[in-house]
């Protein structure tokens, strides 16, 4: 029989504490990091090529492209949204940068100061991405359209624009900033690290700070957890949502710029299908599509896992057609793991 207890004697034995150890063990990143470590050990043992500097650089460079886009995607997924347009936006960003370089190649100021030309070109790619994100954000946050359908449409729109602008041809780098652009996108720095990895790390730390220590990040999590509650407590839901879509697309645009720097020319089919790898990386890293969960470390770890799997299959001489098979298996495993954990957590 329940007793009418005095207020001071009320106890809450039905509430479980979540200690630091429990928190670590119940985190998806812990498992994905463990899987990544195990996989790398196996590959180091199985192939003497895996731990060579050249190969590790290659893996680091490849995965950082996906990871940068996955950082933005993770923000959108935390909001309980999704952005399918990132692959096309990468291509559009690359093309915009290429066009900006071509357009400004004769400007006297830029000829004298290639650094300015570079900044102009990079900003063009990022800004075009941001503009696409703004359209996505306004349609989704203000008009209440479904993120899936809106960004699916935008995937098609942006890819088509890329083909229209380039007439299906590649768009190369131009002008005074060409060499600097190539160097900043490719030449290893700080003792052999690919620059894209450094950009990724800087962006990941920035996003971690934004999410954990800024009001904006708190609001992103709140909207993902309970959008109605966020609105009732005075969170500017619309503004935060739009800013997240802008951020995600701008990062995709930046990834496109990096791809252009890497390849020297962006073909019209640049990054076709990358949206799936980006979303896969976020989901493997623990971002939950129902919203409210995820983080930059997860996005980076997820991307790394996918790339290590791909690399392992290549080194192992497995037919490249098998790659997506294994990536797909890992996506399903990640979701399964998430399910098992949440069931245990009740």
């Amino acid at each position: 029989m329940a007793q009418v207890t005095s207020p001071a004697a009320m106890n809450f034995d039905n509430v479980r504490r979540q200690g630091p150890l429990h928190r670590v063990l119940s985190s998806q990143i812990t498992y994905v990091l463990a899987a990544l470590a195990i996989l790398m050990v196996i590959m180091a043992l199985a192939s003497d090529k895996f731990l060579t500097e050249r190969n590790l650089q290659n893996v680091a460079q490849n995965f950082s492209y996906i990871a940068i886009a996955a950082l933005g995607q993770t923000l959108v997924i935390i909001l309980a949204g999704i952005d399918l347009s990132v692959g096309s936006v990468m291509a559009l960003g690359a093309v915009a940068t290429s066009l900006a370089m071509e357009w400004s190649q004769d400007w006297g100021l830029f000829v004298d100061w290639p650094g300015l030309a570079l900044i102009f070109a990079v900003l063009a790619g990022v800004a075009v991405g941001g503009l696409v994100g703004l359209v996505n954000g306004v349609l989704i946050a203000r008009l209440g359209l479904s993120p899936f359908v809106t960004t699916l449409g935008m995937l098609s729109v942006c890819r088509s624009l890329v083909y229209v602008i380039t007439q299906g041809r590649g768009s190369p780098t131009f002008g005074p900033a060409k060499d600097l652009f190539r160097a900043l996108g490719n030449d290893p720095i700080l003792g052999g690290l690919p620059p894209s990895l450094i950009y990724m790390a800087a962006l990941a730390v920035m996003i971690w700070f934004l999410l954990r220590h800024m009001q904006w990040g708190r609001h992103v999590f709140a909207i993902g957890g309970n959008e109605k509650a966020a609105a009732l407590t005075g969170v500017p839901v619309e503004r935060v949502k739009i800013s997240v879509y802008v951020f995600c697309s701008a990062l995709a645009g930046f990834t496109g710029v990096l791809l252009l720097a890497w390849l020297g020319s962006a073909p019209a089919n640049t990054a076709v299908g990358y949206e799936l790898r980006v979303i896969a990386a976020s989901v493997i890293g623990g971002a939950n599509l129902t919203g409210g969960l995820g983080g930059p470390l997860g996005a980076v770890t997820g991307s790394a896992l996918i790339e290590v799997i791909r690399n392992g299959l290549i080194l192992g001489g497995v037919q490249p057609y098998w790659q997506d098979f294994f990536v797909g298996v890992f996506i399903i495993l990640a979701v399964l793991l998430d399910r098992i954990r949440s069931r245990r957590a009740g």
């Binding site: 509430v15 979540q18 708190r218 999590f221 005075g234 969170v235």
Partner: protein, 291 residues
């Protein structure tokens, strides 16, 4: 304990009766009168919140008609009525979700006009929503401060002050005598603790009036006791509480006064001491015209 159980049993029986009464009511096509011959006492001093002739129309639907009443500081008023009686609309008018079609609201004697919930909050009216409006994925402290986070440092590194928010939230929980811990995730909390988080949120500002929408609808008997205890503590602190509830025992245990709504009108405004669950039930269903 026995008395509480008895009250609860009575309310169950009453609820069964309601269906029969309601059917009788609908078949009678009785027009109810606006007359509110309630035993409202005219007290000295200024009312905390006074509603004068509030009406709210949604197109042809008259959700509220001629609702007038007032509440004093430190008073706990039960707001009762069947589904569709206009309780929620009235709460939303007071909470600033939408303005009334006509009528006046006076807060401490001054007319107020709310256009959005933040307006009402700034004026000192806080709401505890039925679903509590909590984000499960955040900690108790994060929920308490949601939308009014404490910050430290200078722009552009104006960051969240986690330490201060946790400390302040912990103080509020201690004040409410709840053992909720500031750092715990709301997802892992009991119904009573969630309720404490939602109430702690109202204590951040200098709230004068707290509207509680069905705070005891979906929690266990022990947690109900906990919530009613919280309401008493708010009252002891001089805060007025409007308790919207379907649960007769709760209203009779904690409220000073009960206001009954029916079909968008106030049909009764009585001191709890002068009323009975049976009478209130009759008023809710329309078996009694007014009291």
């Amino acid at each position: 304990m026995v008395a509480r159980f008895h009250q609860f049993a009575v309310s169950l029986i009453i609820r069964q009766k309601q269906f029969a009464l309601r059917r009788a009511f609908f078949h009678s096509f009785a027009r109810n009168e606006a007359g509110t011959t309630g035993a409202r006492e005219e007290r000295s001093g200024m009312a905390l919140l006074e509603l004068r002739d509030i009406a709210k129309h949604f197109g042809a639907i008259h959700a509220l008609t001629g609702v007038s009443w007032s509440i004093e500081p430190g008073e706990v008023v039960g707001l009762m009525g069947d589904n569709g009686a206009g309780k929620s609309t009235l709460v939303k008018v007071m909470a600033g979700n939408f303005p009334p079609t006509s009528g006046e609201m006076l807060l401490e004697g001054k007319p107020v006009h709310f256009h959005k919930p933040v307006d009402a909050r700034e004026a000192g009216i806080e709401v505890v929503y039925q679903d509590l409006a909590l984000a499960d994925n955040l900690t108790a402290a994060a929920n308490v401060f949601l939308g009014r986070e404490l910050k430290t440092g200078v722009w552009p590194l104006r960051r969240l002050d986690h330490g201060a928010m946790n400390r302040k939230a912990q103080e509020l929980f201690a004040e409410l005598k709840s053992e909720t811990r500031a750092g715990d995730l709301v997802r892992l909390m009991s119904g009573g603790q969630r309720q404490a988080v939602a109430i702690a949120r109202t204590r951040l500002s200098n709230a004068k009036l707290i509207l509680m929408d069905e705070p005891t609808a979906a929690i266990s008997v022990r947690q109900v006791h906990e919530v009613l205890e919280l309401i008493r503590r708010l009252r002891d602190g001089g805060i007025a509480v409007i308790l919207i509830s379907h649960r007769m025992p709760d209203v009779f245990e904690v409220c000073d006064r009960v206001i009954v709504m029916r079909r968008g009108r106030k049909v009764a405004d009585k001191r709890i001491a002068d009323s009975s669950p049976e009478e209130v039930t009759g008023l809710i269903t329309g078996a009694l015209e007014a009291a």
